[in-house]
Symmetry: C2
Subunit: 415 residues, 2 copies
């Protein structure tokens, strides 16, 4: 894409009430726009990042048998009353409104209830299990405070997956497969080393749930980790009994601040019983269904990536989610040089490489600062000076390494 065509520009100012590093940087670089606290629009560059993250998650969910669909934002009151989750005292994040005839409706902050209700139409026999479904849904949550940028929004995108299983063993098999799939997702976006499967509070159904926690100062959680033993414990469940059970001592653990990028949760059979989802077994007997729920906050993950990788010059995108792989920065002024820069852009673009081409008429310093701020993995500079030697300059955003490469060798170098 030609940068002269991109309607966004980098900015020096951010809204006064924006306290989070992730939103500040993303606003400055033109990736997002703040509608109000916790409510952000995703501009062309930001949307590209989101879609790349979603595609990685989609591939890994499909690989373990997930079926993608999309539920609705508008929710029926009576469904949530069955599980006692309509009441504002029990769930304090509802946005509610009403139809013209006065019928109260809510807007989806979670989807276990409607999905389980829907499944009553399709899951009737033990032969229909296990079934795994997932969606990328825009969730609306009426958070009291929203000061963490895109890491905790009032409107945000979540991948939520639900498993319906016949028994504990079938449930556990998928639960374990999801842990592996989630680890693959976090590895693919570049967070493998700093993301931990963490023992956390299990709620009413199981002793533990599992959270995926990524180390970042912007996180709201505190966990205790042991890197060698690959053990991590949320402080909320950290006590002597748990330590003994997991076979670690307090001294072996390091305290770190983290953000929860994913969680997986076992509802047992309770939720399906409340909503009336059961199947018949081989003998024609009605039996309860096990529900698991598995979330990855897509927009939150994007925020964590920003917090985790950015530096004093701006954003730093891991290759797998960068809006463009290459930032081709042209400092060419005269027609012959511009033609060479255009030709390189066309060559890269037509090879299927995502390339942002800074063809703007701007000062070199401004172009370099913008390029650092926007954070593409590889910057290719083409200028009268490099063209004199038939070269371009390549600089890697993460390492800062620079080298000169012959114009004819660019393709080989960056592929």
């Amino acid at each position: 894409m030609r940068q002269s065509h991109l309607f966004t520009k980098t900015k020096k100012e951010v809204p006064k009430d924006e306290a989070s590093k992730n939103a500040q940087l993303l606003i400055k670089a033109g990736f997002i726009y703040k509608e109000m606290a916790g409510v952000y629009a995703y501009l062309p560059l930001g949307l590209r990042v989101l879609e790349k993250i979603k595609q990685i998650v989609r591939e890994e969910m499909d690989a373990i048998g997930g079926q993608e669909f999309i539920m609705t934002s508008i929710q029926r009151k009576e469904l949530w009353e069955k599980t006692d989750r309509w009441n504002d005292e029990n769930v304090d994040v509802w946005f509610k409104s009403s139809l013209k005839n006065g019928t109260e409706v809510g807007f989806g902050w979670s989807h276990e209830e409607p999905i389980t209700e829907l499944m009553k139409q399709y899951l009737t026999s033990y032969r229909d299990l296990p079934t795994y479904v997932y969606q990328f849904q825009t969730k609306l949550r009426n958070e009291l405070r929203a000061k963490s940028g895109i890491m905790r929004g009032r409107e945000f995108i979540m991948k939520d997956m639900y498993s319906y299983s016949l028994d504990e063993a079938q449930h556990q098999t998928f639960y374990d497969a999801t842990i592996e799939a989630y680890l693959k997702v976090f590895a693919r976006v570049g967070l493998a080393d700093d993301t931990f499967v963490t023992f956390a509070s299990g709620g009413a159904f199981t002793q533990f749930s599992h959270e995926f926690q990524t180390i970042t100062d912007a996180g709201e959680d505190v966990i205790y980790i042991n890197r060698e033993k690959h053990i991590a414990i949320n402080e909320e469940v950290m006590n002597d009994t748990v330590l003994k059970e997991l076979g670690v001592t307090r001294e072996e653990l390091e305290q770190v601040k983290t953000a929860e990028v994913g969680n997986i949760f076992n509802f047992g059979t309770v939720k399906c019983e409340q909503l009336g989802l059961s199947v018949v077994d081989a003998d024609g007997k009605s039996i309860p269904v096990f529900l698991g729920s598995y979330g990855i906050g897509i927009t939150r993950l994007m925020g964590v990536l920003v917090e985790h990788f950015s530096d004093e010059n701006g954003l730093v995108w891991p290759e797998a989610v960068a809006p463009f792989q290459i930032h081709l920065v042209s400092l060419c002024k005269d027609a012959i040089d511009i033609k060479k820069a255009d030709a390189l852009y066309t060559q890269l673009h037509e090879s299927g490489i995502d390339v942002l081409y800074d063809d703007r008429d701007a000062r070199p310093g401004e172009k370099f600062a913008d390029s650092d701020l926007m954070g593409m993995p590889v910057r290719v500079v083409i200028s009268p000076r490099t063209l004199e030697k038939g070269e371009v300059e390549i600089k890697y955003r993460t390492s800062g390494d620079e080298k000169h490469v012959a114009l004819t060798a660019v393709m080989t170098e960056i592929q």
Copy 2:
């Protein structure tokens, strides 16, 4: 995809309150699920259709220079007050709610206001124009009645595009380009012959707006068309003066029922003036900006496709939007035959063809009825009888044509 893995099944029953043909068929075939009147979830097959429609629209909007982004559902009251569109007397489809601190918010039923407000940050000079942006947004509209299935929802997906132009001429150039792009979209989804660019009421800013109307009995509009002259007039603007202006007589026109699948609208400079978006021209003088808005109802278009193409046996999908190109129906029972069917599935799948493989253990009559109801363009039947001759049977959903083809020639036949 193996049909045995698909969690949806065809159904004989639909919700009692479902009056529309499009939703009845889509529910029976397992493409959608009714949450409440005008609120539908899209199940795996339905989501595939939606994504294919979106991709066609995306390609055509990108081709005329559109930049994709995504705004928010949550809306700020003060913005809509500036244009007098917050008040329920003026706009009767708002869903409204409030933040914990009492601040009233609305949920986006349209997005001219927030997009124009956002653009104030990026469009400051005449050099920044023209700019075209679009999104695929889930719109929420508190419709009094919602009886048309997915053709008029309380929650639905819309592609809305906005153009910001320097002057009337620049505006008109893009307006005309959009008409051409829209016609390409409707041609690609198979509606070329029955979709008409229709003169309709222009509102406060222009004499006419342009609607894209598709002939269907399920439509809510009545238009008058002349197929030879390619002229279409919405009945709301049909009078002697308009007829004279367009150079047709009443006798040359045919009255048809239609559904509006797209519209394009000229706001002049009024909206940008209300919201305070202006740019400076070459002389440093502040000048107003021209706004155009261009919509295609994505879910509505899916509904219109159902109404338009379906027959007494069920859905009929045009190739470009079908969830799968091929429905491979296996009637094989013994292990050797099943292996051959599996091999054919693998071969098709690995060639990159979207294929739904009915590998279920069910009666042939049920499989054929399901296949007709689900409406993939091509059905390939593999059975002990066809395998005796080393063949499969191919049937085209639209024409009903059948033929036998050697197993070794299937790939050539269907590509």
